[in-house]
């Protein structure tokens, strides 16, 4: 399932025959945020893949943006705590799924806009880049790695700001 708008993702998860996501659980998952970006929801980032509930035992299947991401344990802890606070949920188990592989397309427009407010940007489908600060396309890569493994560093020659690009 590839997520576009958050509403599409929610609807797809809510209606999927293998999913037992209730609106309460979705709200709980929505309230779990990226540990590095405290206002961006993991649902909007496209990390939630499956939710299966059986007699109050919930299993949430997540996919990591990068398999070596150091935030995985923290995200799993937060998801468990959030889901276990939902009515009628007895316990929650989190699994990191080996597939599908996360891709930037899984992010919702909301998450993209939020990341842009941090000067972090995604390439367009044609590989193009737009500076999230001034809108210029005069953005040039400086180094393949930045502060995290999932981002490279570019420089906008128009407004002279560093821009981080999700890889």
């Amino acid at each position: 399932m590839i997520a576009g708008e958050p509403s599409v993702l929610d609807a797809a998860l809510l209606e999927s025959s293998t999913s037992s996501l209730t609106p309460d659980m979705l709200d709980a998952l929505r309230a779990v945020h990226d540990p590095e970006y405290p206002d961006i929801s993991i649902v909007d980032l496209g990390l939630v893949e499956t939710v299966i509930a059986l007699d109050g035992q919930v299993t949430v299947g997540l996919i990591p943006t990068f398999s070596g991401c150091p935030a995985l344990a923290m995200i799993a802890d937060d998801v468990r705590a959030a889901v276990e606070s939902v009515d009628r949920v007895v316990s929650c188990q989190v699994e990191w799924l080996p597939s599908p592989v996360w891709a930037p397309e899984r992010m919702s427009q909301t998450a993209r806009k939020q990341l842009e407010s941090y000067t972090v940007v995604l390439r367009g489908r044609d590989g193009s880049l737009r500076c999230p600060v001034c809108g210029s396309s005069d953005v040039n890569e400086q180094s393949m790695a930045g502060p995290t493994r999932c981002r490279s560093v570019s420089w906008c020659d128009s407004c002279r700001n560093p821009v981080e690009v999700m890889r």
Partner: protein, 310 residues
């Protein structure tokens, strides 16, 4: 709090410092394309250079502990934190170099010969693993508080944009620090003693990270031009107020015999000896020479990479 809502203007100029001050006081944000007063440019540049140097030196300290961190998960966390700090230094050096005062190479070379400064806390030695936990819990928290106070105002646009990311990413480091501290605090008596010994070494450097009291009124140009939103003594007092009861609740003792609560419950530290801080500013801290040499060697050892990429 100043916001970054608008796309950067740039291309502005001011008749003089009074005119510029009026712009700052009215909530203005300076951008690289502006013809900013040279006094402002130099102060902001020095501040960003100091911050960049501190991120780099901090990253190298974290790196030292990757092989020694107990367990794969903590090694992974230290790897990520090292990359985070070096990455922050990278972004900050880009913005600093763009200001046209020094090139990136000049900044690094000044750092490696001891001509420029970095945070006092990176002039000390981390003796045991518990020291590294104290750094993650206490020192990162102090640095975080001071960065947050810069982010709150910060009139230089590109710096404020980087700080927004740094501040949110440091919040993630805080959680790791707390997690590691909890393990030692609730561990064996030996682990508890280890952390107490580390606390004895790191409490004062952490408190001194905020610096001596700011000069009176708005004589500090960084306050006047709203790079800093709070005075050093305000930040220091808030830090002591938060961390004293927290550390005591885990059963640790603050290494300050004169520490006491005043009538309204505020924690008041004993008189601070600023000599150790001054020594670090002259590169004369207990571990300054070794740390600077390690960083310089690292730079020299990687010369071939820069040549290959040039």
């Amino acid at each position: 709090m100043r916001t970054l809502a608008d796309a950067p203007a740039g291309g502005r100029s001011w008749a003089g410092l009074d005119d510029f001050q009026a712009f700052i006081d009215a909530g203005g944000m300076v951008e690289p394309g502006d013809d900013m007063p040279v006094e402002y440019r130099d102060e902001v540049f020095r501040f960003i250079e100091f911050h960049a140097n501190s991120e780099l030196m901090g990253g190298l300290t974290e790196r030292d502990w990757i092989p020694h961190a107990p367990g794969l998960r903590l090694k992974q966390i230290f790897l990520a934190k090292t990359q985070d700090e070096i990455g922050h230094a990278h972004l900050l050096y880009m913005v600093a170099a763009d200001m046209g005062v020094k090139t990136r190479t000049e900044m690094l070379e000044d750092l490696f010969v001891g001509r420029s400064r970095f945070h006092n806390v990176f002039h000390y030695q981390a003796v045991t693993w518990a020291d590294q936990v104290a750094i993650a819990f206490l020192v990162d928290a102090a640095a975080f508080a001071s960065q947050r106070a810069v982010f709150a105002e910060c009139t230089y646009g590109p710096y404020k944009r980087i700080l927004k990311r740094i501040v949110s990413e440091e919040g993630f480091h805080m959680r790791h620090g707390e997690e590691m501290l909890l393990r030692l605090a609730t561990g064996t008596p030996t682990q508890h003693d280890m952390f107490q010994a580390a606390l004895d070494r790191w409490w004062w450097p952490a408190v001194q990270l905020f610096g001596p009291d700011s000069p009176p009124g708005d004589t500090d140009p960084l306050i006047r031009w709203k790079i800093k939103s709070k005075r050093n003594e305000e930040l220091r007092a808030a830090y002591v107020q938060k961390y004293v009861p927290l550390l005591q609740s885990y059963g640790f003792e603050i290494p300050d015999p004169e520490l006491h609560q005043d009538a309204d419950g505020t924690w008041v530290p004993g008189e601070i000896d600023w000599e150790p801080l001054k020594a670090t500013m002259r590169q004369g801290g207990p571990d300054s020479a070794r740390r600077i040499k390690t960083a310089a060697d690292n730079w020299a050892d990687t010369a071939w990479v820069r040549e290959a990429l040039a």
